[in-house]
């Protein structure tokens, strides 16, 4: 069983989470009408054997979407942080972190 260290809830079994998708993709801006940009983001994947950035949703926990670094061959988990930059920044504040713990 993989275990993910949720920055809000702590270390949890992976079946509390839902795997969403490759987290390295940057989708084009909605106003972007370039078909190739959309095709690249929606359909093409790096699909590495090794370090992979991915999105996991803590569905049965705090429901934060996390960016997880994981090795696709060894399944070793690296850095984990909230996918939303503002939540990530807020969690870094010591005062806020204290309140939550």
């Amino acid at each position: 069983m993989l275990r993910l260290e949720c920055p809000v809830c702590g270390l949890r079994d992976h079946d509390e989470f839902t795997y969403l998708e490759d987290g390295s993709i940057t989708y084009p801006k909605l106003a972007n009408e370039n078909q190739d940009d959309w095709f690249n983001a929606v359909y093409l994947r790096e699909n590495p054997r090794g370090r992979h950035i991915e999105k996991w949703h803590h569905t049965f926990g705090c429901r934060t979407v996390l960016l997880v670094e994981r090795d696709t061959l060894t399944h070793v988990i690296g850095k984990i942080k909230p996918a939303h930059p503002k939540i990530a920044a807020a969690l870094k504040q010591p005062a806020t972190a204290k309140k939550r713990s």
Partner: protein, 421 residues
């Protein structure tokens, strides 16, 4: 090499089985070939066989990094069927089923193809309507399919959970009688033997590590056993497709690698004489009984990208609960073995058999978790595509650029999602 026959079995049996020839030649690589096939799974071996048999191209090597059949070809749950409804898939899988029906004779090797029938259960009126639509399309294409109501299903498989208290009571099933199972190892060995007999070199323990090209054309491959030249190279490496595509300069492909587990129980007395499958909501389950008596079953992908051929426990318990919901009588049967393989999951759940942007390089991939049934037709079409430098009618829609032009072959109607069957 001697043909297998009843006479051979008798003769060898009487002389202590001491003079059987090895089924195929374990070759070492020559410096060049007309065609190199990368990957000694079912698809690679079948491609080599049909290149020789149908197109008279005998100077062929299959290069396998491990041992033949050590990948998904030897790890699958062996279900063979042709109940597809998208144009592109319908004719391709039916072509495959027809090849299966004569495969043992064709290869002179018993692949134990057993047309025991395939039952796809439904639980809601909406599901039934969608299945009726699919089977109507199949029948219009000359493919067999039948709708069984609850009573007909009960008389066919009496020991499913028919309780009205079940989480989702069974309403009936769609039945394909010509579908069934085959012995996966026999398929690999049968194709290997038949190809080897026609002069194909089967090279094991040799990994392709790079591609050699001059002037935008592929001229050979680099391997752990040295450089090997070829006029044409076909890639049939299933879960490793993206890795090799990067090396060939094809860039990113519409593929993710995911792992799928399979489970087999201790052998029990005859219990199930057809293949039973269901998919409803997130639940997905398929089961059959092997000729040795083991219950062979599986369910969903583990859920996250992986190149590790090992499965996780949550999925194991998920599949076990699917089994218990459907066949409570299995509750006391012990699990014997469990394993996983790496699937080349495409963005619409359908495969690619196509030329690539690099002249001389051909691609066979995107089999998701249903590529065993495709083995004969995949080899047949890939051989045609390589020999003629153009697809056959049967695989002309299995292209890489179909997403770009909006011609997805999305049977499940998910949209871009690399986890469809």
């Amino acid at each position: 090499m001697a043909r297998y026959s009843a006479w051979q079995i008798l003769k060898q049996g009487l002389t202590g089985n001491k003079s059987w020839d090895p089924a195929w030649r374990d070759a070492s690589p020559k410096s060049s070939y007309d065609v190199i096939i990368i990957g000694g799974g079912g698809h690679g071996l079948a491609t080599a066989y049909y290149l020789a048999k149908n197109h008279g191209i005998f100077n062929v090597a299959v290069i396998e990094k491990g041992w033949i059949g050590g990948g998904n070809a030897g790890r699958n749950t062996t279900i063979v069927r042709s109940n597809y409804f998208m144009e592109g898939n319908t004719e391709f899988y039916e072509h495959s089923l027809k090849l299966w029906e004569n495969l043992s004779q064709e290869l002179n090797y018993n692949v134990m193809f057993s047309q025991r029938g395939h039952l796809n259960l439904f639980f809601t009126p909406g599901q039934r309507d969608a299945m009726i639509r699919k089977y109507n399309i199949m029948r219009l294409n000359g493919i067999d399919g039948e709708l069984l109501d609850r009573d007909q299903l009960i008389s066919k498989v009496p020991h499913l959970n028919y309780s009205q208290e079940a989480r989702l009571p069974i309403l009936g099933a769609l039945y394909q009688g010509r579908a069934g199972t085959a012995r996966h190892d026999a398929v690999n060995w049968g194709f290997a033997r038949a190809a080897s007999n026609l002069g194909v070199d089967i090279i094991q323990n040799c990994e392709v590590t790079g591609f050699i090209s001059t002037g935008g054309r592929l001229v050979g491959v680099e391997t752990s056993c040295g450089e090997i030249r070829a006029e044409k190279v076909g890639m049939a490496v299933a879960g490793s497709t993206s890795l090799l595509a990067h090396k060939a300069g094809l860039g990113r492909l519409p593929i993710e690698s995911h792992k799928l587990q399979a489970f087999v129980s201790e052998p029990i007395k005859p219990f199930l004489d057809s293949v039973v499958v269901y998919g409803v909501g997130h639940g997905h389950f398929y089961i059959s009984q092997s000729d040795k008596g083991g219950m062979v079953f599986g369910g969903n992908l583990d859920g996250y990208n992986s190149y590790a051929q090992k499965g996780n426990l949550p999925l194991y318990s998920d599949v076990a609960s699917c089994a218990m919901n459907m066949m409570p009588a299995l509750g006391r049967v012990k699990l014997l073995r469990q394993w996983a393989g790496i699937m080349d999951m495409s963005m619409d759940g359908s495969p690619f058999i196509t030329k690539t942007d690099l002249d001389g390089l051909y691609l066979n991939a995107g089999w998701c978790y249903g590529g065993f049934k495709a083995t004969p037709a995949s080899g047949w079409c890939f051989a045609h595509t390589i020999a003629h430098d153009a697809p056959h009618d049967v695989n002309k829609l299995l292209t890489l650029d179909r997403y770009k032009t909006g011609h997805m072959l999305d049977e499940s109607g998910h949209g871009p999602y690399p986890k469809s069957h």
